[in-house]
């Protein structure tokens, strides 16, 4: 039966963090894979927007022009920023864990980074729902 169990299952929940580390690893990879196509789509939509702005197809102020564009231009950008901040938060947690040795400072920085990231994502989402 062991032959059919994946390597990931074998290491899951081992280690001192009680599963948090494996979960962190998995989420970082999943968000990275998710970001790849989203980034591709976002680049295309950004290029389209820039092209319209720079080649004078707009006859309204920039702000009105941006608001009048289809939602398809903004969906990848919104997704990219939200998932990007989440992915970056996980990465910065690793950097802090590696380079700050004082336990209190380490946890202080990790918790404040996470709070700031989730706060930013929440308000960012809120502005688009409104």
């Amino acid at each position: 039966m062991q032959n059919f169990v994946s390597h990931f299952k074998k290491v899951k929940n081992l280690g001192a963090s009680g599963g948090a580390a494996t979960h962190h690893f998995l989420m970082q990879r999943l968000s990275a894979i998710f970001l790849l196509p989203v980034v591709f789509w976002a680049l295309i939509s950004l290029l389209c927007l820039f092209h319209k702005i720079l080649h004078g197809q707009i006859n309204a102020p920039l702000w009105d022009f941006l608001q009048s564009q289809s939602l398809f231009y903004y969906i990848p950008l919104i997704l990219m920023i939200i998932v990007g901040i989440y992915h970056g938060m996980l990465g910065i947690q690793v950097i802090i864990e590696d380079y700050i040795q004082c336990k209190i400072m380490k946890h202080f920085f990790i918790i404040s980074c996470k709070l700031f990231s989730f706060f930013t994502i929440l308000i960012f989402l809120f502005t688009f729902i409104l």
Partner: protein, 126 residues
């Protein structure tokens, strides 16, 4: 209960071969990309709640050459982090660990990042 865990290899201790430079560059670029994303998120939030002020700031920023240069470097970091991230994903499934392959893929990542960056800026302006 405290567990003494081994520390990560620090920068001042080991010599930095090519792959190690790429590795630390991956981290640094990730840090700057995070800051950039946070900036864009807050810029979007501000432009929703204070549209006039945000538009003025945006015009000031976009007419300044330094901003364009920073943006150019930021997209370079972006492409570098993306391609190097794909390289890391290959490592996660156990492919490409040989020293020769790692060096070659590292070179490919740097070349691809530079080419893509010039291509995207060319596409924006022409």
């Amino acid at each position: 209960m405290t567990i003494e865990r081994p520390l990560s290899p620090h920068l001042q201790i080991y010599r930095l071969p090519f792959t190690a430079i790429l590795s630390i560059a991956h981290r640094l670029s990730g840090l700057f990309l995070y800051l950039g994303f946070v900036f864009f998120a807050w810029a979007a939030i501000m432009s929703k709640f204070f549209p006039d002020c945000a538009m003025k700031c945006l015009q000031c920023l976009l007419t300044c050459r330094v901003t364009l240069f920073v943006l150019f470097l930021w997209t370079l970091l972006f492409f570098y982090h993306m391609f190097n991230g794909i390289r890391h994903l290959f490592w996660d499934v156990g492919l490409g660990f040989e020293i020769k392959t790692a060096n070659l893929s590292g070179l490919a990542v740097v070349a691809l990042a530079i080419i893509c960056n010039f291509l995207i800026w060319y596409c924006i302006f022409y």
